[in-house]
Symmetry: C2
Subunit: 439 residues, 2 copies
């Protein structure tokens, strides 16, 4: 998934210029989000594991170099030099699952300028998407109040890797599993699945479809009951359940995918309970997001779990973040841009989170400053190598859970508009003013 040429052309043209100019001093770049989408009160850092993987394996292959040579865009000496190109720099980052706010760097790279520059496009591509999804998925988790949540959205995620990474990022944010098999395999995420309408339709009758499926999948059979008439199907489930009980075959649950989910779930629950199927779970899906889940949960709908797809995997209400990866220091001297509306703060930075009775305060400081509180950027790679194994996905998931639980409740509301002051240190302000005076 990581072709080295999955990058913007300008990374290569800048690289060629840096090589020609022999500019290889240490550069510090920081990745941050400029502002929150209106519907978000906080974001959840994600994607670091994939970034580490990318940086660890970064190398131009023979094919890549041959293509570059044949393109006629680059000098032979530059292409030859790329053969040895590796990432040998340092990375500090917020652990995955950490809630963060605008202007706080979540990743800081210190490396030779060509290295630190070249990785920009793919590092943003990875961190941006996983953070978008984790920040959306955590809202579903807050709304679900403990109900089972499963990622159902690979089919409308934006192509292959989004299908995989949204399973990972939503699990990190507290989902219980995914329907995407390759994600389950790759990240050891629990897999869930039911059946499609086509399975029911292909059989001569709904009952025939339910029975065949349950007999093949004796360990766990979730039956989809809304293909023709949901209540009629619930009665069929009761009848089937009695027949299968003689063979010791249970029905695990039913799924409702359309209509008034709350109303149907109530009616189905009544039919199932009256028929002795109290242990049959009800699972709901279909166009869900955190708002729909909250409505259903608040109305005490008898729904045990939710499949959430498209709107989570595409983060439909906020499909992108205004994030950037910017140079803040070169050869020990601070750098910034002053572009209108996009100015950045210079210098190598740290974020300290100080907890107090009313919640917490974040301080954006120079990395060289010391403050009370927890420094959020922690060392990850030194000299191109991991300094310690990253937390497992399960550990990061627990970190996210604990961190989100400790946020003041205004952040955990689904409505946006909760603001968190990020205090910029005097030393940072002074540095910015000094830089401007000479540029």
């Amino acid at each position: 998934m990581d072709p080295v040429l999955l990058t913007d052309l300008y990374e290569l043209t800048m690289l060629e210029a840096y090589f020609a100019e022999r500019m290889s001093g240490e550069a510090v770049f920081e990745l941050f989000v400029r502002k929150l989408p209106p519907e978000r009160n906080f974001l959840v850092a994600a994607g670091l594991a994939e970034v580490v993987d990318y940086l660890t394996n970064l190398a131009f292959g023979d094919d890549d170099l041959a293509w570059m040579r044949a393109s006629g865009r680059f000098s032979d000496s530059f292409v030859d030099a790329l053969r040895e190109f590796r990432f040998t720099g340092d990375v500090d980052a917020m652990p995955e699952g950490t809630p963060f706010f605008p202007n706080e760097p979540i990743l800081r790279v210190s490396a030779a300028l060509p290295q630190a520059q070249f990785i920009e496009s793919r590092v943003l591509n990875l961190i941006h998407y996983e953070t978008v999804v984790a920040s959306k998925a955590v809202r579903c988790v807050l709304a679900a109040k403990g109900r089972l949540l499963v990622d159902f959205g690979m089919r409308r995620a934006h192509a292959a890797e989004a299908g995989l990474l949204s399973a990972r990022a939503s699990y990190l944010a507290g989902f219980d599993g995914t329907a995407t098999v390759e994600a389950g395999r790759r990240y050891a995420i629990p897999l869930y699945g039911t059946m499609a309408h086509s399975y029911v339709q292909a059989h001569e009758s709904e009952m025939a479809a339910f029975e065949a499926f349950a007999r093949v999948h004796r360990e766990s059979a979730f039956l989809l009951i809304d293909t023709y008439d949901t209540e009629r199907a619930a009665h069929e489930v009761v009848e089937l359940s009695r027949r299968l009980a003689r063979d010791g075959i249970p029905i695990t649950g039913v799924r409702i995918d359309s209509g008034d989910l709350g109303l149907l779930a109530r009616r189905v629950r009544r039919i199932l309970d009256a028929g002795g199927c109290q242990s049959v779970k009800i699972f709901a899906s279909g166009n869900l997001d955190e708002h729909r889940v909250r409505e259903l949960v608040d109305a005490n709908a008898p729904i045990d779990g939710y499949g959430i797809g498209t709107r989570m995997n595409t983060s439909a209400d906020a499909p992108f973040l205004d994030c950037a990866y910017k140079l803040t220091e070169y050869q020990g001297r601070p750098r910034r841009k002053r572009s209108q509306g996009k100015a950045t703060l210079p210098g190598r930075k740290q974020v300290y989170r100080q907890r107090h009775d009313d919640g917490f305060t974040d301080f954006l400081t120079l990395a060289s400053e010391k403050r009370e509180g927890t420094p959020l950027l922690v060392p990850v790679m030194r000299g191109g190598r991991l300094i310690a194994p990253l937390p497992s996905l399960a550990q990061s998931r627990e970190h996210a859970r604990a961190q989100v639980a400790s946020l003041p409740s205004r952040f955990r509301a689904l409505e946006g508009g909760a603001t968190q002051e990020v205090v910029v240190s005097d030393a940072l302000h002074t540095l910015a003013a000094e830089f401007d005076a000479c540029h």
Copy 2:
């Protein structure tokens, strides 16, 4: 990019049931969009080339089978049978670049039930995303009225494959190129690139950065002029241009990435022209979409080209389509679902487009009916093989251009709300009524 296990778990569990039940009759599935997002007047079919590639190469590898066996979810006999699993069915589809409307199948698969079912998740994943992007990008093309358009969005596309496929889909829809190197390489799309702010920042002065870059990239140098002060930088470009002219080095253009793009472009154009740099192009980027481009074009801003990123690559105003892949026939008999709000029409279908003086009418018919007009679904694969090479990307791009140009002007407006009646044939209505009478 196509792991065979990039699918939903239920595809595998249904497959196992079909194997156990020996259900392998011919099934017909159709892929269609239920309704248009409010901001779209039509959609542009895309993704067929990747689907053909997926179907042609579909096979379970030893690793996949070993994982399935180890998972404990599937019977050994089922896993063994998958070793021979291939796609050997038929595909009919709208050619890429064809404008289409709700409820019109854009892809029809006829194959043994297990095959036609299994491919659902990945086929949707590919067609959905490329169609989302092509349908957004074509709006930018309409707004740009011939100005150069370049895809700049890989970094905020939803992970790797979205970065690649959005370059492809936007080029199909009429963009002139992309910044994403791997997409240029893979799909032979023209590549464009400039420089980043960090390049300017890393140098001791903006002028030093501009000069170094232009000397290394003598064939084409686009200079980014908004890092500190855009007008000051334009004056530097004039000065540099004179100095470099002595060495026969041209400056191709400048890029403005922030601020009031129309106002700055006018001022920069004046500075450049006054300084003898009439041939230096102005390129604009930064948070653009079709609406911003239209404003700038309508205001006659002196901008020669636009870099469009995030909002196009994520189709930010409509990041997903309500699309589905549904069984419409099994063993020669029609099938439909009647789920509330999601009912489908039964039977193997065709779409005929009849052009007339006021535009055109689309007829949704049974495949067996004959009508005046152009049948939009054309044969693509038979027996698992392409019946003829697909059009090249360039040919599909020309097809899209011609088809979009021939749409009545109300569809080509950026405002949504233009409706296209899709006439459902009497035979289809009758078939649906007959089906309902017996289910």
